[in-house]
Subunit: 410 residues, 2 copies
């Protein structure tokens, strides 16, 4: 594999961006459609057969010697958030392209066919819904839900499909079958600081955390901040502050499980200098790959709510916004990834993914795993997102080895 | 004094309101001007001489037998905030009217003249500046500052003065002299819960607290809420939460001094479910009548800022927005108020005012004190603001006795 060629791939794909800071290549836009066309040409140039499915997923196939065998697949996405970096999603797609180019150059043949998939609409930035392409491919897309989706300019997903020569009414035809796949592996940037801080080359992802999300309403009493003695108050901000700190404490106690808890949304009413806050609204996001650990944090949140409501005379209630199950990676694939790293002398760390990925959907219908490469300063969804070409190439080597083992060189 | 007449006074004055919930009688509006004209008529009907000064203060005078002696004054305001209640300010003005009516009916004469003053623009709701009338009267109004004031519709204070037949360039002529006054007393609703909760009829105000106000900026790091381990975070919300709780703790420790501390404004950035908060902005209001006690809370806030910045790796700075000195009431007047209550068998409580009042300005140039009457549920600046006519009449009796003692019945 070639470092300069990989760098050139980023340069070429990076040119497909709408105006604005960083990369702006939102799902199903004209710019993203042209980027997909560009990628299709790259795969076709190395002899792969490329098709676009009913969801807009691009599927580039390299035939196997026994082409009727289940496919060994890899892939990621090239759509982005607003003001994105260059690596989220594209790292996995361009590393896969580089692997395919090297197989082509070296004339390597495999028994199983290999596919590189560019999943459509992984990011929720445009339509508020994430991993639409992999959901469609794995038969997990609710048709009624997709028909309700609209972007901030009022363009419906249905219209966006039409603009791409697709028909939302046919999106269910993107579904594939479990026996079509032998394995799926996605290379992705970590989007967190752990690999860099630990000086480790590769993350072997053992599970993808799923968020349990709650809205917490804290109701207190608006009083004059000058005339209400401290012991007569029912200050909603202070109740909310204690809840946020209780979530942190509970998550810190689960450090060994990697469970995290965040209050990312916090607002108060009325928000005036001379009024004791009467209400606070919190959104809490609790994630982990260990279901029991995550549940302990949720329970701690519930207990904090009761305790603080009682102690402060506040009216607090919480609503579950969503609660998805964590997704475990295939154990055999995880072990094989570690073995590949060991063979090459590449440092690795078994870790969980805190963010969601297309692999979550693929893992529900075939053995799946993920390879992480370091993110500088843990930054992502940010123009400063950065992974060096050397770091990425190391990840690509692990990807190549795993694909070849699974597809069986002949 | 007559309960029904007092009730009728409220009914009549309450009719002067702009549309909206509760009372809307903002300073220097046409509605407030008409309300002032109405009040002028009431005072003139009982033989008082009424003039409006260069700031729009209404001064109703009842001659003394020795009319050259310094005046004994009382008063409050009739302008309101948006969606106000019926009692803030008006309680003091209408109680004074009822006292004057009773003196007239009973043919009581005093050596000193008595004045009832309706101060202009006590509330900051319209122009963002409070107690303009009493500041002007006590020579504490900065001309440059007044020329910069504008309401939310872009109307300047200068224009508002013109609309009232006043000239802002002449406002300094509203200033009076210390030797014109013997004493000033203001009756006002408590605007807090203490009298009601303690079942006490009258609050004898010993001091008016002044706020020390600070803006605190907490700078952290925006990270992905799923991919950033708990021990790698610099969460600005959590730092802000600890600061708010530290202010509460410090103020609770000063309970015996009545010092209060409030974070009434609290906002975070970016405020997204999946992003660790990168910044928090807090406005802190610390009030007390005991300067040392208030300073201890300010010091505790400063120490919390340092401690939390260090412990969490946050970048926190605080700016002083304002810091005024508390105002002590005149000791002799306070003792005389207590004696009046004792003589009448009226329950009283010596207390501080947490809110600011025109008396703060009057106290700087003549002996001054305040009488509080209970506020139901401590509510104020709210359509639900309530004090019963019986409670108010009790306060009016204390006011009358004090005025007569100071003005010397002959």
């Amino acid at each position: 594999m070639k470092l300069d060629r990989l760098r050139q791939s980023f340069k070429e794909l990076g040119a497909f961006t709408d105006k604005g800071e960083g990369i702006n290549r939102l799902a199903y836009t004209e710019t993203e459609r042209r980027a997909r066309q560009h990628m299709i040409r790259q795969f076709e140039q190395i002899g792969m057969t490329v098709r676009t499915d009913y969801a807009g997923n691009v599927i580039a196939r390299r035939d196997g010697k026994q082409d009727e065998l289940p496919v060994v697949a890899t892939g990621s996405h090239i759509d982005s958030v607003y003001a994105a970096g260059e690596f989220d999603g594209t790292a996995g797609v361009l590393a896969a392209l580089e692997v395919m180019r090297s197989l082509q150059e070296e004339g390597i043949e495999t028994r199983h066919p290999i596919e590189v998939i560019i999943f459509a609409c992984e990011e929720s930035a445009r339509f508020g819904a994430s991993t639409l392409g992999s959901k469609a491919m794995s038969g997990r897309l609710d048709p009624a839900y997709t028909r309700s989706l609209t972007d901030k300019n009022g363009v419906t997903l249905m219209q966006a499909f039409e603009d791409n020569g697709l028909n939302l009414e046919e999106v269910h035809l993107a579904m594939r079958f479990q026996d079509e796949f032998k394995a799926f592996v996605e290379l992705h940037i970590e989007q967190g600081p752990v690999l860099e801080k630990q000086g480790t080359a590769v993350g072997v992802v053992s599970a993808i955390a799923a968020p349990a999300r709650y809205h917490v309403h804290v109701g207190g009493t608006a009083d004059h901040s000058g005339t209400t003695p401290m012991d007569y108050r029912h200050d909603a901000l202070l109740g909310g502050a204690e809840i946020a700190l209780a979530v942190e404490q509970a998550a810190l106690a689960e450090l060994e499980y990697g469970t995290v808890g965040t209050v990312g949304v916090f607002s108060i009413q009325p928000g005036a200098m001379n009024v004791v806050p009467s209400a606070a609204e919190l959104d809490v996001d609790i994630r982990g790959t260990d279901t029991e650990s995550r549940q302990r944090v949720v329970t701690a949140l519930e207990q904090a709510v009761s305790r603080i409501a009682e102690a402060r005379g506040l009216d607090i209630w919480m609503d579950e916004i969503s609660s998805e199950e964590p997704v475990q990676m295939d154990e055999d694939l995880v072990e094989e990834l570690k073995a590949v790293c060991e063979e090459r002398g590449i440092t690795w760390l078994e870790m969980a993914s805190g963010a969601g990925h297309d692999t979550m959907n693929m893992a529900r219908f075939c053995p799946a795993c993920m390879i992480f490469v370091p993110s500088k300063d843990g930054l992502s969804h940010n123009p400063a997102e950065y992974t060096s070409m050397e770091q990425l190439l190391t990840g690509a080597e692990v990807l190549r080895d795993l694909l070849l083992k699974q597809a069986v060189v002949c």
